[in-house]
Each structure stands twice: as structure tokens, then as C-alpha cells.
């Protein structure tokens, strides 16, 4: 049984050794909405995000994706699920033995029967979307941090997933590029009704892209609500976080 959310976390607990990172996280992301997860450094945002596509398994609690429980699924079964949910990693995680073009083509090569020409077009299209035209033949080592970030985004987009998990997509980008990526995230949601979960430090971006905001603190979701509710929240921790940022 599951509710009506596209992604649902129920009472998630996860610790590494003695360190309890998630201590009963409950969060529902509706289909088609953009949920921004805010929280201090080391509060467990990345760990939470990695539960949403089964990269990390919880000690207790469940994760439902599109009605399926994924928190206890076998790795083989998760393969199918993950085609629907793409992830942009905080550290980009581009394959450094491949060029950017090959990185982006990789999921297409693996999961589709498209011809090489079509794949090349899809790669070019994805690169254009993030403003990296003509960079297909560069290796990750030859690119700047911001370029890698955008390439990682292009790789996540290329399979046209139903949901996207972004881990700090705009950290390290200049204001212009930040603006462009934020608009891209919004456009994807508007035009393709992609469900998005965005982890970020950047309040400015959060308020631009978020339908709803969740605030993670001390291993629990301290606040969930619209951005207006977030900005006017009386919660002390939320207030502190906003004024610090």
C-alpha cells in the first residue's frame, strides 16, 4: 500500500557506524512537483536523496517510488526503476575514461536500440540544453567544474526520465549559468511534467524553482511547505537557516 505521492519516504532511518544520519524521515513528493530539500552541510541531504533511487538502503522504514517499494528491492529489479529516475551527483561522477559525448550516450547505448545517428542527435540535443555545444569530444579532466556539472545534468536528462534527483545542481556555477540551469529545471517540470527533487544550499535558487520546500535537520524533516510558508515560518530553526544564508 502507498499513498498518492510519486516518491514517498516513510520513517527512514539510516546510520553509518555510530553516526545516526536519518532518524525517521517522512517525505512525500507529488508527481510533477519540484521539491527542494534544504539543510545544513552534513545534515544527510545526499544520503536521503540516494534512498530515493535505491543507491542506499535504509535500516528501517520504506521508500515507495510510483507505488513500488524500492527500499528492499534486489539490485537487478532496481535497474528497471532507475531508468525512470535519473540522478545528478554532487561531485558530477562523470566516467573519466569516456568523453562527455560517450558519457551521455552510455545510458542510451545500454537501454535503447536507437541507431548511432539518433544517439548522436540525442547527445547533441542534451548538450545544447545545458549550453555545452561542441564539447562532446572533451574528457571530464579537460573541463571546468561548472562544465562538468552541466555535463552531468545532460547525462541525467538523456534517457528522458520521469523523475530527476539533483544534488546541488548549481553549486559552483556563475550567476548566469545558475539562472539558466534553474530555468531548465523549471522548464523540464512545466513541459515534460518531470518530478524533481533538488538538494541545495542556495536559497535563492530554491525559491526560484521550488513548488515546495523541505527542511532537513538533525535527521528529520523539520518543515515541509510552499516557499511562502517557508519564508514566513515561525519555526526557529527555519528562521535561523534563512537568516544565516
Amino acid at each position: 500500500m502507498s499513498g498518492n505521492g510519486f516518491i514517498e519516504c516513510r520513517n527512514l532511518r539510516k546510520s553509518f557506524g555510530a553516526k545516526a544520519v536519518l532518524q525517521g524521515v517522512n517525505l512525500t513528493v507529488q508527481r510533477g512537483e519540484t521539491m527542494v530539500i534544504l539543510g545544513g552541510s552534513g545534515s544527510g541531504k545526499t544520503v536521503l536523496l540516494k534512498h530515493m533511487n535505491g543507491l542506499v538502503g535504509p535500516e528501517s522504514g520504506e521508500v515507495f517510488l510510483d507505488g513500488l517499494e524500492i527500499s528492499r528491492m534486489e539490485e537487478d529489479a532496481l535497474t528497471e526503476v532507475r531508468k525512470k529516475v535519473a540522478m545528478v551527483f554532487q561531485g558530477c561522477a562523470l566516467f573519466d575514461s569516456m568523453t562527455i559525448g560517450e558519457n551521455i550516450a552510455y545510458p542510451l547505448d545500454e537501454h535503447t536500440l536507437l541507431s548511432p545517428e539518433v544517439i548522436r542527435d540525442r547527445v547533441r540535443e542534451a548538450l545544447a540544453l545545458v549550453g555545452l555545444e561542441g564539447c562532446a569530444d572533451l574528457y571530464p579532466a579537460e573541463m571546468s567544474g561548472g562544465m562538468k556539472k552541466r555535463a552531468a545534468l545532460a547525462r541525467a536528462l538523456v534517457l528522458r526520465p520521469e523523475a530527476l534527483l539533483y544534488d546541488e545542481p548549481t553549486t559552483g556555477l556563475d550567476p548566469l549559468m545558475t539562472h539558466r540551469i534553474n530555468r531548465l529545471i523549471r522548464d523540464l517540470q512545466k513541459k515534460l511534467t518531470v518530478t524533481s527533487v533538488v538538494v541545495t544550499h542556495d536559497l535563492q535558487s530554491a525559491f526560484v524553482i521550488a513548488d515546495r520546500v523541505a527542511f532537513l535537520q538533525k535527521g528529520q524533516i523539520r518543515f515541509v511547505g510552499t516557499r511562502e510558508e517557508f519564508q514566513t515560518s515561525k519555526d526557529l530553526a527555519v528562521h535561523e537557516f534563512i537568516s544565516d544564508a
Partner: protein, 261 residues
Amino acid sequence: MRAISEKWSLRGFYPLERVSDYLGGLGLLSYGVARCLRKRWEGGLILEQMERIGVRSLSIVLLTALFTGMVLALQMGNYLTRFGAKPYAGRILALSMLREMGPVLTALMIGGRVGAGITAEIGSMKVTEQIDAMRSLGINPIQKLVLPRLLALLIMLPLLTVLADLVGILGGLVITTFELDIPADFYLNSIIQFIRFQDLFSGLGKTFFFAFFIAIIACYNGLEVSGGADGVGRATTQTVVTTSITILVSDFFLTKLFLQL
């Protein structure tokens, strides 16, 4: 992995717990690989690894074998002359090369060179989240990374061992001819007449086990790396130590097994 040590109630006894966790991990990885065997085999990836593992290790393997053969011949010549058994030098040398020195030394060299390389490569992919990225794209890292390396090692280690055997025997030939005054044709003929296929196969049989151990240990250590570049360094060292010890210890038991066959 934890479950195994819990089941055998080794909790609290840390050294044993760690060993059982490690063995459990190796077992799980082997099981994962076995499950991947049913899926698509990627010839391209396997060939690439065969080139990297096999062809590029040729020089160190052959150099090792050449000098081992020469040293064996020197020692053998020295001792056998005392017993008046010099004519047996070739036969004994060939026997030790085929049954022990060729397979074990080749495996040790490959375990060091290739095993360390595999751990470093997979380990750095792990710490830069490339393994997670593969999984997040619905691509199985065991199938893409572990299986090709295992198959390449299973193919290349026996082949390299055969070459090492040959070069070792030729190294012996050089020394016996020029140092011990045994005629070359006598040396070769005595070997050919004396050596049986069993000798070759008992040596080669071991190499499949060695290849399996090297691949699984090296890949597992890489996949389990945590904590950045120093973690990769530590894992790489551990691979060299663990593969070497595993090869030497398992060689004893495999020898016992193959002597019975």
C-alpha cells in the same frame, strides 16, 4: 556480509569478525558475478581487458620466467653434479617449471601488477561516485567492471603461464649448455621424453583458481574502498598482500589435490 559473522556468533571477536565479513563479501561478489554470467557477455570489454591484463604483462612475466629458469639451472647443475646426476638437470628443471614455478610466479606477478591496477581503477571510480553513477543509470557495475576482468584473467593467466613455462625452460637451456656442458639436444630430448601432459595440466589447472582469486579479491577491494585517495592506496596495498598470500596458501592445497589426480 554482517549477517554471516552474526550467525556464527563471532560478534565481539573482532579479528575473526573482520575475516568472516571479508570472506562473506568475496562470496557475495562471486555470487553476483555468477548471476551476471547469464546476461549479455560483452566481447569488446573482455578483449580490452585481455589486452591490458595479458599483453601488457608479457614483458615482466617472461623476464621473471627467464631468470627463474636460469637460476634453477645454475642451482641444479651445482647440486646434481655432486651426486653425479647432472644429466637429470633438464628433467627436474622442466618439472619444477611446469608444476610450480611457472604457474605460481606468473600468478604472483600478475596478482601484483594487474590486481593492484584493478583495485586502484575500480577504487577511484568508487570514491568519485562513478560506481554509484553507473548503478543510478541502471547499469550493473559487476557486469561491466568485474565480469570482463575476471574472464580476461581466466583466459590470459593460463596463456601467460604456458609462455612462462617455455621461456623458463629455454632459460635453463642457455645455462645448461654454456655453463654445465650439457648438449642442447640432449637437454631438450630428455625433457620431451620425460614430461607428461599431466605435468603441464596440473600446473595450468592451478592457474584458473589463481586467476579467479586475483580477480575477485582485486575487484572486491576496489568496490569496497572508502575515504578518498588514501583509501584507494590502502586497498591497493591490501590487494597485493592478499592475492600473494592467497596464491601461496592455495597453491599448497591445489598441489595436494592435483597430485592425487
